[in-house]
């Protein structure tokens, strides 16, 4: 892994006033047995595509449609993503990882308070689980098989671990049969899972 990786020990996490109140409520309601956090997570996950600006899907679609943008994104993703209106936390870099037929990238993350949901969308509930994290590192091909897709043996898999300063966005391979598509249409093919490398984009006939 390249790039800056300074340690800011003085740099602590932050939650907005609203997030503090929401967490307080959830903790109290859980302790008193009114809500089951796992059931809440599952419900929230059904809104995967209904939360936030989904900037990442637009970024991927633009990179598919515009070779010059793609080059800028792969060279330095932070300003390229900012072009589309998302500026992350200061000092946080986003690195775009290009998938090719020979290389598949997959990202693991601790889901700290700075998880870039405006780009990647809601994190999946299993993402922070220890079994997923360790299996992703030891047996990434097996993890992908668990998610229902098999990569050819000739495709190498590389696993990336997010750090406090570096976040990753996977740039999936553009599905065939999309020549001449507008960026809006292309963005509909981009799933959250395809941007963290645990899924593939939709096929054109899936969004007919």
């Amino acid at each position: 892994m390249t790039g800056p990786n300074h340690h800011h020990d003085h740099d602590h996490s932050e939650l907005s006033e609203t997030e503090l109140r929401v967490r307080a409520l959830e903790t109290i309601l859980t302790e008193k047995g009114y809500v089951d956090p796992a059931a809440l997570d599952l419900l929230i996950e059904t809104y995967e595509t209904k939360v936030g600006p989904r900037n990442g899907a637009r970024v991927v679609a633009r990179a598919w449609a515009d070779p010059a943008y793609r080059a800028r994104l792969l060279k330095d993703a932070t300003p390229a993503i900012a072009e589309l209106g998302y500026a992350g936390r200061q000092g946080e870099h986003i690195v775009a990882l290009e998938n090719t037929p020979r290389l598949h990238n997959m990202v693991v993350c601790t889901l700290c308070s700075c998880y870039p949901w405006p780009v990647l969308g809601l994190p999946p509930v299993w993402y922070k689980s220890a079994p997923y994290r360790s299996k992703a590192v030891k047996d990434p091909r097996g993890v992908l098989r668990d998610f229902g897709f098999e990569l050819p043996e000739s495709t190498k898999i590389r696993v990336w671990d997010s750090t406090a300063e570096i976040r990753y966005l996977v740039l999936p391979v553009c599905p065939p049969g999309t020549d001449g598509w507008s960026e809006e249409r292309l963005a509909d093919l981009v799933t959250r899972d395809s941007m963290i490398g645990t899924g593939l984009p939709k096929e054109p006939d899936e969004i007919a």
Partner: protein, 128 residues
Amino acid sequence: MDATAALGATRAVPGVPSDDDGPVFREPWEAQAFAMALALHARGLFTWNEWAESLAEEIKRAQARGDPDTGETYYRHWLATLERLIAAKGVATSETLHRYRDAWDHAADRTPHGSPIELKPEDFRPAS
């Protein structure tokens, strides 16, 4: 509690931002606040009529304080309604809510940037 229940809530409660499939959210916490109300409703803590009335009162109070009412603040009112109803139903007092809010603030403060934030007993200030 599932997507059908969620759709029911968007029909029963006026103003829930939604598209053809159901509710939409600007930020993750909004979805969390929505899901908590759904869970409490499923537990029978309130009916949607009761919820809609309390929410309408909350919005009225906010407008009296100068809330711009652009729709962007809808879920802030939703959250305030949750807090108010929970206190009214005797689930947790506003003092308890504050104590937990402060504890989460403390937890965030001691958690290095990049690690997940977890609440621990020592985050609570001893009750005075």
